[in-house]
Symmetry: C2
Subunit: 121 residues, 2 copies
């Protein structure tokens, strides 16, 4: 394996904290982040950007104000900018996020779930 | 499953052509594309953008002028902008590409492998 090859399972094995995205790659000014989630996150939105969720292991639900979208491993979803959403996972779920560098996990909401940004694995 | 949920295996089942990327999602001005590849592609580079390869099924090699990087399902790689590369896959390999809208598969090289751009699944 090359030094620059990113193995998703190897990266996932390197951290255990929930709701704490870790950057694994940059493409131009976008970042690919891994996160482990469990429980109910806070309602929030990102005013300036869409946000991509790719489910790697497990199951989660993306709650919106008008619908609830179940997602399982091998599925992805684009949350449009400005749309309030809340990730929920009864059991641990591993996801990849794609979004511009600088996006904060709690968006416009802030609070105790706000993770340090730009933390690389 | 929501109308907006993207199931990668379901999308992959919808086409069979090699070297013919299909757009499955947009995030801001970036596109997520699926491709099935087999054989040797042309050497090319993208002057203005990095390009992300995520391997979904099978194995491929990213050849560079100074190294050869084997990649398998569950691995990803960021090809830096301007760097010549050539994807090679002895057997069919299914990949996801992430890059700005408008990027042509053969980059600066053109030729018979150039696929129609912006084809959605």
């Amino acid at each position: 394996m090359s030094d620059n090859t990113i193995n998703l399972q190897e990266k996932l094995a390197k951290f255990s904290e929930h709701w704490s995205p870790r950057v694994i790659a940059e493409m131009n000014d976008y970042q690919f982040k891994l996160a482990k989630i469990q429980g109910e996150f806070v309602w929030h939105s990102h005013a300036d950007t869409d946000e991509v969720f790719i489910i790697l292991d497990g199951e989660m639900t993306l709650e919106f104000r008008d619908k609830s979208v179940p997602l399982a491993a091998g599925e992805m979803y684009v949350v449009p900018k400005g749309v309030e959403h809340r990730p929920v996972a009864p059991r641990e779920c591993c996801i990849m996020l794609v979004e511009p560098r600088g996006v904060v996990n709690t968006g416009n909401t802030g609070g105790s779930y706000t993770a340090q940004n730009d933390v690389w694995l």
